[in-house]
């Protein structure tokens, strides 16, 4: 089921809208690449598809500097504590994209090793279908994420629940 934004949430004030506009054009991704979907991620990151148009051109290879966790590929049970730890290291506001069938639902693997969807470990904002997703799918998902960021209630650091953590 595709999520849709029906109308602007009534409680989004001017500050939320300004912050949302700023945040949606400065997406810093943390690519957590474990499997073959990584190839497609790399092709998306090249100049040909130019995701710099969406302000997402600079992947940060440290979770502490990133806004969006991109889980690219298959996640094993052995690796799942690592993913959770990386998610917890990221500073709010943060979002998560599940890239490909494996990350979303376990993909072709229904066996002893593979986590059946990373939403058992971290909350996911965007699921990208496909094995692997085409670059167009990725760009579509990125634009959906931008919509989502623009129209959400913004997290403010002085009101954050995890402020002291």
């Amino acid at each position: 089921m595709r999520w849709q934004i029906k109308e602007k949430p009534p409680y989004q004030n001017a500050l939320d809208r300004v912050l949302g506009w700023g945040r949606k054009y400065s997406i810093f991704m943390y690519p957590f690449v474990t499997a073959c979907c990584g190839m497609e991620y790399m092709s998306v990151a090249t100049a040909h598809y130019d995701i710099d148009r969406f302000g997402a051109g600079l992947p940060r290879f440290s979770p502490r500097q990133a806004d969006v966790l991109m889980m690219v590929g298959t996640l094993n049970h052995k690796l799942s504590p690592v993913l959770l730890r990386i998610w917890e290291q990221m500073a709010e506001p943060k979002w998560c994209i599940s890239f490909g069938a494996c990350a979303s639902v376990g993909g072709p693997y229904d066996n002893y090793a593979v986590v059946q969807g990373i939403d058992r470990i971290v909350p996911v904002d965007i699921y990208l279908p496909g094995c692997p997703p085409r670059p167009e799918t990725v760009i579509d998902g990125l634009m959906k994420l931008q919509d989502k960021i623009q129209n959400q209630k913004q997290e403010l650091f002085w009101k954050s629940k995890n402020r002291d953590v």
């Binding site: 089921m1 999520w3 002893y112």
Partner: protein
């Protein structure tokens, strides 16, 4: 050496032993009883005419209803003579196999993998513990009686799907 010559050499070297040597699918193959395995591998490695210096692979097969239940399969290669040998060892469920980790260093991680996946113990192995799976894992996943999709998660479902729905509500995103 061709496969036939290799087989003839092995039969000459072990005339009275309970080996079964043949050329199977174009490759020399030997069925060796577990009791003789240690000596057999030693000879294969140290005798110059065999000279198997490369330990290519060790794996196992679970036949479930057959007795003995497992086959442990070795693949050896000689870089000097350019010949290969496949060794099969029938192993009962509670039987232990002599380790070859002291003959070929590379057998060490491979035997740990066989232990990890099939639960076959190797006597004399210096560090026999799980290599691919985690220590908390119960059972051996490549055995035929392990349910194919039984999972043993390391983490509780910390953020179930319900939770991301809550986050969506918090942010004012509505599903149609």
């Amino acid at each position: 050496m061709t496969s036939e010559e290799l087989i003839n050499h092995i039969i000459e070297r072990f005339p009275e032993a309970g080996l079964e040597c043949l050329v199977d699918k174009g490759q020399a193959a030997a069925n060796v009883p577990v009791e003789q395995l240690e000596e057999f591998l030693k000879v294969m490695k140290d005798t110059p005419e065999f000279g198997f210096d490369l330990f290519m692979d060790i794996t196992a097969v679970d036949w479930l209803e057959r007795k003995p239940r497992f086959d442990v399969v070795y693949h050896l290669y000689s870089t000097e003579h350019n010949h290969r040998l496949r060794i099969k060892v029938g192993v009962k469920e509670d039987q232990q196999v002599p380790s070859s980790a002291l003959l070929w260093m590379v057998a060490n991680p491979m035997e740990r993998e066989v232990w990890d996946m099939y639960g076959i113990k190797f006597t004399g192995h210096p560090n026999l513990k799980r290599i691919l799976l985690y220590e908390e894992f119960k059972g051996f996943p490549l055995r035929k009686d392990y349910p194919y999709n039984k999972q043993q998660p390391l983490l509780e479902d910390t953020w179930p799907v319900r939770d991301s729905q809550e986050r969506m509500d918090e942010r004012g995103i509505h599903r149609p």
